[in-house]
Symmetry: C2
Subunit: 427 residues, 2 copies
């Protein structure tokens, strides 16, 4: 809220407080809404999006033109664009969320206690969720749908570059909510480009229960630093594959190649390959050639560079790097203990895999590597809500508390204790 | 860190960073320690405490004398005191924690996915837990034991008034850790009365994963406000019992009386009694007499005061109040909807109960009241880790994220995803 005069700040703060109060009130209604009502809203939003395709593309064109005029980077323009295909994809995603099991209300572990009471836990909505994101307008629909399915009210703050697109999507969401008789305030899209709105949103803990920022690392770091509301966040994804000397060679090559090359820009992409020295001369020449044919730049430790000639040196900094690009650091190490040590020291506790046929090492790796996903004999690329069966995901959390790893609708809920008695008193 | 000159601040910060680094290193070892090793340490600490009873009482006497000399309130002196009975109770508590199931390593929900991988979640320690507490020296042993059982390293910062007591307990903890061959840094007791130590502890997110403050509301609010590390906290316990007009009269009287009078100073004690108007004239005269015979001061709404003559008026502020004393606010309302409205508006989302024989109302109350414990036909006093079967508790969380309600060892852990494959790659 720097560089703002007092009056403007107050006006934005007042606006955001109203938004927060409305969200809180709506959260009470959507929180107790029946599953079929929430699903009806989701299906109606999907229908409204498809029916409004022309309008969505036209509004999106305004954003794209403004973006081009203001010199927005091509990558950002690309993320900003809505196509007939992406409208279908968004609507399809909403229908999938509607088809998922409702996480709300599930009671688990209900047991009789010696006192005679029954105690269990009921899954309940978090309440109000604030989503702060950058250019992709599809997030407006996806995030709203995930929050709604989990019984929460959502406050969405997209990037100013997507303002018209987001408004058009918001209109479809409103149509869908109205069809299902849910309050309009269940999903509110912040309609000001004033950045003070974000500052207010992340500080009003009385109206907002959790913030989910989606975007670049600097956005997420700034929000985490300034927030007074808990943040479910994704920071780095510096992922490792460790090829053990007891690895099956074919599996090792397949997993390490897939983990790096299936997609370069995702957070669960392999960034540093660790290879046990006992197997390095069997696996590295073959893998090195495959990577190079795929156009991956390799950076190696001294031993790697003896096996793969003419590749660059991996400096200390490379071990920390999340390239998000066709670049791979490779290190030959002694054994699994050194691999765990390397992962603990340089990794980001996101997703790390071992390839081994050795039972005891697999068991130890699973227990001792402290990452949100720990994998044996499979690609790091599987670390994903869809692949894990969570349905659509709001993101992959690198937090330790609450939700860790891919976060679906369940991560947007919490549990309360329920107690059933028959006039029981404590003695 | 106000009122400190730069040199002192830096010295304390440096000290705390060292403490944090040591805790992080120890957390890696205790996090993978086998159950029997952790339990052996707990039993050895219990034994050491009993064997050191004389020493503990002598050191405690030093704190008590200093406290009396500095004019510490009688209630605080009371909490500070260690007796032969309390030493036995602490040691017994540690043995109970040793006897509990180890939460660490449990794998749940391991299922095959269509891709062929198996995905589940493994329960793992949080890492490093900082506990900040006031006078009760028993917390030093209890909190250390809960953290240790859950595989965490602990940094404990007790009140300066209990310094000698805490040091003596810390010595016993060190003996127990040594017996089990666990690192001494698994439990570190901050040995400076400098308040800047707390400021450093709650900000060093790279070394501390969660802060658990235990003490008065002002301490907890200050820590929550200033912390950069997530805080598992307990704020208010403004608990309600709603007596529905379909209540069984005997159960209603028993539950409402027990919830208020079984103990006055606990967070799960009844503070406002809500009574449906249809049953008020049957239940209030009888309950009113019982409360008054027990010495409870009653404050009522106008209708209550027609039924219970000569009681005080309940003002608007009373509905918000957590008395923690023999005082009770009573309000006659129309029906369950008004009860839920009252609880939502004035309550603290801690523990709320309904007394009713009506199935549909019980079902709705359970779903719609958004509190950490929601109870049907039983006393609010049951909201407790021991009563819920969680074993000893580190506290009752009023957070929505992560742990909500009584927090035992499981609340001091988190879950990571584990993936088992056989060379699977993502397509």
């Amino acid at each position: 809220m720097n560089n703002m005069n007092q009056d403007t700040t107050s006006a934005v703060d007042d606006y955001m407080i109203t938004v927060g109060q409305r969200a809180r009130a709506a959260s009470r209604i959507v929180g107790r809404a029946e599953t079929r009502v929430k699903d009806a809203a989701l299906l109606a939003i999907a229908g409204a999006l498809e029916a409004s395709e022309g309008r969505l593309l036209a509004e999106n064109r305004r954003d794209l033109e403004a973006g081009r005029a203001s010199g927005l980077e091509p990558a950002l323009l690309d993320r900003l664009e809505i196509t007939p295909k992406s409208v279908k994809a968004i609507a399809g995603g909403l229908r999938e969320i509607a088809a998922q099991t409702d996480p709300v209300g599930e009671i688990t572990g209900l047991k009789y206690r010696p006192s005679g009471i029954q105690v269990g836990q009921m899954r309940v909505p978090l309440g109000v969720i604030g989503i702060i994101y950058e250019s992709r307008p599809n997030v407006t629909a996806d995030a709203a749908a995930l929050c709604l399915k989990a019984g929460n009210a959502a406050i969405l703050r997209g990037g100013s570059e997507a303002l018209h697109s987001n408004r058009a999507i918001a209109a479809c969401i409103q149509q869908g909510l109205a069809v299902a008789n849910l309050p309009a305030d269940t999903v509110q899209v912040i309609d000001t480009v004033d950045r003070a709105a974000v500052g207010a949103l992340i500080r009003m803990a009385e109206y907002v229960d959790v913030i989910v920022p989606r975007g670049g690392k600097s956005l997420i770091e700034r929000i985490s630093r300034e927030a007074r509301v808990p943040v479910i966040k994704h920071l780095d994804g510096n992922c490792h594959v460790y090829i053990d000397d007891h690895a099956d060679l074919e599996k090792a090559v397949a997993v390490a190649y897939n983990a790096k090359t299936q997609r370069y820009g995702t957070c669960n992409t392999l960034e540093t390959l660790l290879v046990a020295e006992g197997i390095a001369d069997q696996v590295l020449p073959r893998l090195g050639q495959m990577y190079q044919e795929a156009g991956v730049e390799l950076r190696g430790c001294p031993r790697t560079r003896e096996l793969l000639l003419d590749i660059k040196v991996a400096a200390e900094d490379d071990w920390y790097e999340e390239y998000l690009a066709p670049i791979l650091a490779i290190r030959v190490i002694k054994d699994m203990d050194e691999a765990i040590e390397h992962i603990t020291r340089y990794g980001s506790a996101h997703t790390d895999a071992i390839v081994t046929e050795n039972y005891s090492r697999a068991r130890r790796f699973l227990r001792e590597v402290d990452s949100s996903s720990v994998i044996v004999n499979a690609s790091t690329r599987f670390a994903d809500g869809g692949e894990y069966g969570l349905g659509a995901e709001i993101g992959i959390s690198t937090n330790k508390l609450h939700a860790r790893g891919p976060v679906g609708t369940e991560g947007l809920t919490t549990q309360k204790f329920v107690v059933l008695g028959d006039g029981h008193i404590r003695r």
